[in-house]
Symmetry: D2
Subunit: 147 residues, 4 copies
């Protein structure tokens, strides 16, 4: 549907202009039918460990949180406010100094009030997973609707 | 022990100068005997939702992640590298626009290789919890030691 | 209110007669105003590791999941269906062979649709934490109500 | 390697005879190269909600916890003690009354001391996900080895 596509591009745009997401240099590459992809460049001010130059886990969490939100929005049939309810992040290995990070997320289930999402992040140059995440989002559907 | 105290101030200082933690304006207020406290000011570039001006969840996760690390370091008898293994965050309510956030964390258990921590964040002006977190950290003890 | 108290005893009774909870020998000791306490005896068929006789983590998760539900129900002003949305459990140390386990949970926040709970379990004979948990529950309020 | 295969069958057998796992009727169907599959039959004493006859979440957590352990063991090159460090479970929808549940898990990363696993469970008759889990396991490698 054209209408649906329009709202989804709009959703992707909205996520992209969140001040915090812009501040860390995050970019949503795609968000469609519950699947989303984002990217972030390595930057000095994002470093978590000065000795290794590795990006801070909180940056990766921010990236994944925002990306999971984009995946949820792209899975919904209409725009509505969503909010992260809870999120678990597993840090499998440090990101590589100087290298961009790519993350992907998939919305696995949408109920009337909740959406469940899984995501992961890896160095742009390889497929080794840096971090995994699982999150639940709260949906605020327009009143009067029942699904 | 004087030596221990010195290492703990050192630990607190180290956490404070992490580029990323400095970039979001985080400040460790105290870190002693497994208990730590930190603070962050509201700032426009930390906003997650442009319509409400609420700070992004990723910022609060960054704050809690870093603070939990400070709590773990302050619980250890000697300096050693630590890394967040995994972390769960629950967002109970949005932070209030324009208000500083205070977070507290407690290291509940230290084994030879792992430390478990719990934390929470609230608006500086009240005690209503904004977010809860539970995390596990990996410890890298100096070789040759057995505990 | 007498009515409220009655519903809470009823809630406690209901949790107590869940077939699964009965099967593992769980007993809710108290559930009031968002705080609940439960107990489980050590039993051979609950063993997770035959060499040590330690109770299986899944039993402790079952205990905590059920107990968190009791804490949520006791925090609500009226009976309504609730369901565990997600739960994180941290196993800090093995339970002691032959020893009963006591668990406590506290409902920290109730919104219109979600309740957040934290709990922990320890050997009955000491206060050393065996496991921590954090959970989110979905509430299904009777229709027509707004809070 | 024959030796490797033998230890893996042995691992699968060990998981299968855990008293608790046997008590809930769990059966490991396969465990090889970091991937494992298990099955559990619906049974009256596993019910969590007497009104719907749905299996208790704690049973599904027990199944997934055990299965994730089997996946980890099958990913290791040699037998060694492992223990669940922490686990997050998301309940996407209730299991169907009277229907067997099948679960699958994959060990995504093994470091010297930690293994990360993801799993999911669904009704045997369809592919709709009932529950997701993410877990971290602690490995106790034989002393003197370095990997």
């Amino acid at each position: 549907m054209t209408q649906n596509t329009d709202w989804q591009s709009e959703a992707r745009r909205m996520v992209g202009v969140t001040p915090w997401f812009a501040a860390i240099g995050g970019e949503v590459l795609s968000a469609k039918a519950g699947q989303a992809k984002a990217r972030i460049n390595w930057r000095e001010d994002l470093i978590g460990d000065p000795q290794t130059g590795v990006i801070h886990g909180g940056v990766i969490t921010s990236l994944l949180d925002q990306l999971c939100g984009a995946a949820v929005m792209s899975a919904l049939g209409q725009p509505m406010p969503i909010a992260t309810l809870d999120l678990r992040i597993d840090y499998l290995k440090p990101a590589t100094r100087g290298m961009a990070i790519v993350a992907e997320a998939e919305c696995l289930k949408v109920t009337h009030e909740i959406a469940f999402v899984r995501g992961s992040a890896h160095n742009e140059a390889d497929q080794d997973v840096i971090a995994l995440c699982t999150a639940a989002f709260m949906l605020t559907r327009p009143e009067g609707r029942t699904s």
